[in-house]
């Protein structure tokens, strides 16, 4: 049974677009700020990805269900308060029941509010499509965001700290590239990741030639 049969023709297209050919980070360059800021450790990238996926799903559910009721003039405010509420609920919930995880993620959780992938998908997709496809789109975009973050984080943690997930993997005498641990290192690595994924996925940017 192919994926097309499981998700339906449109559902399959939504998934494929989100995960690969219309990649949120690489094609529309959304969510770049967090991809640069928190990718110096793999565990940070995982925590951020989990938070973003969860909030994306919750937001897609709410916005696509309410999409026929939202007056178009105030739609941005509507997205904003829905996203902020979801993030706050996640934050409180983690603080109460998963205190160590919440402590490790610290300031990243509130920062999910400003992640433009959520806002971008709300405006571009959730508000125009039904709940089922919106949730698929949320999952696809969340996964795309996660693996690009992980790709950057693995390189940066390995070069910058000589570790993978906190376990030392480099031989004795390895000199850490401090540049990679610093924010500026993210620009180099993210640039390369964007280039590789754009080339592989054959993403054409409007206005870009050659």
């Amino acid at each position: 049974m192919s994926l097309k049969n499981i998700f339906g023709a449109k559902g399959y297209k939504v998934l494929k677009n989100g995960i690969w050919s219309d990649h949120p980070v690489c094609s529309t360059t959304l969510g770049i700020c967090s991809a640069l800021a928190i990718t110096n450790k793999i565990e940070n990238a995982i925590a951020m990805s989990a938070g973003v996926i969860f909030v994306l799903i919750l937001t897609s559910l709410l916005i696509s269900t309410l999409r026929k009721l939202i007056p178009s003039r105030v739609r941005i405010i509507t997205y904003m308060i829905i996203i902020a509420t979801c993030v706050t609920i996640v934050d409180r919930f983690l603080k109460a029941y998963f205190a160590p995880l919440s402590a490790a993620m610290g300031p990243y959780i509130p920062l999910i509010i400003t992640n433009c992938i959520i806002m971008g998908r709300a405006e571009a997709f959730f508000v125009q499509n039904n709940t089922y496809h919106s949730i698929l789109d949320a999952i696809a975009n969340g996964l795309a965001y996660s693996y690009s973050l992980l790709a950057v984080a693995v390189v940066r943690e390995f070069l910058g700290f000589g570790t993978v997930l906190g376990i030392t993997v480099t031989p004795a005498g390895w000199e850490n590239w401090v540049l990679m641990a610093l924010p500026c290192g993210a620009f180099f690595v993210l640039g390369i990741v964007l280039w590789v994924i754009r080339t592989l996925a054959n993403i054409e940017l409007p206005g870009a030639k050659g």
């Binding site: 940070n44 706050t88 300031p107 401090v178 641990a181």
Partner: protein, 195 residues
């Protein structure tokens, strides 16, 4: 006109519904969050007092805390005293990028640092936050805080009141040094008066 009324009504209704949801969630989680914070403070106080306990066992934490630590309130200040007469108190102040809170312990003669820990911060993850890792904070144990503790950005600490800083976390180190010194000066007169 009708469109505008719908708009306002929609925002009002949505706002009220979401606010209600937040209030419910807050009511539901607030006691649990407060208990977590209390537990975190107890665990950290015992760590800087160097009291042995089993961190995974809730009962062991409670038992060790009640047996080994006395809570004393003097005016506005609450401080903690261990069986060895070491004294600990909560600290709070500005970091390089946002507020810092934590706790520090000093020896009974109010001369040396017994331990220090940070409970919440807004420093840059992976850079500034390295200052608050247990491994680094061990360097502060036994250092003299009279007249003041000094964190040397360039390294080369040799005196009893000097600690090496961390490269890439200079601003946080300076903020941390100021926090320790100013909070100690703040509570010192109150504690020496009551002891």
């Amino acid at each position: 006109m009708k469109e505008r009324i719908i708009m306002v009504v929609f925002i009002l209704i949505l706002g009220s519904v979401l606010t209600t949801a937040l209030v419910v969630v807050d009511n539901f989680t607030a006691p649990k969050i407060k208990a977590n914070e209390e537990k975190k403070l107890q665990v950290n106080l015992m760590k800087i007092f160097d009291i042995p306990f089993d961190e995974k066992d809730e009962n062991s934490i409670k038992k060790a805390f009640t047996e080994n630590v006395k809570t004393i309130t003097k005016g506005d200040l609450t401080y903690y005293k261990s069986n060895d007469n070491d004294i600990a108190f909560k600290i709070a102040g500005p970091g390089a990028f946002g507020p810092l809170t934590g706790a520090m312990a000093v020896t009974s003669d109010l001369e040396r640092l017994k331990g220090v820990t940070i409970l919440s911060n807004s420093e840059t993850p992976g850079l500034g936050t390295r200052v608050f890792e247990e491994e680094y904070l061990k360097n502060y144990i036994g250092k003299k805080i009279v007249p003041e503790i000094k964190v040397l950005a360039g390294g080369g600490a040799s005196n009893e009141n000097e600690v090496d800083g961390i490269t890439g976390a200079t601003l946080t180190c300076v903020a941390f040094q100021n926090l320790i010194n100013s909070e100690f000066q703040r509570v010192k007169p109150i504690i020496s008066e009551s002891e």
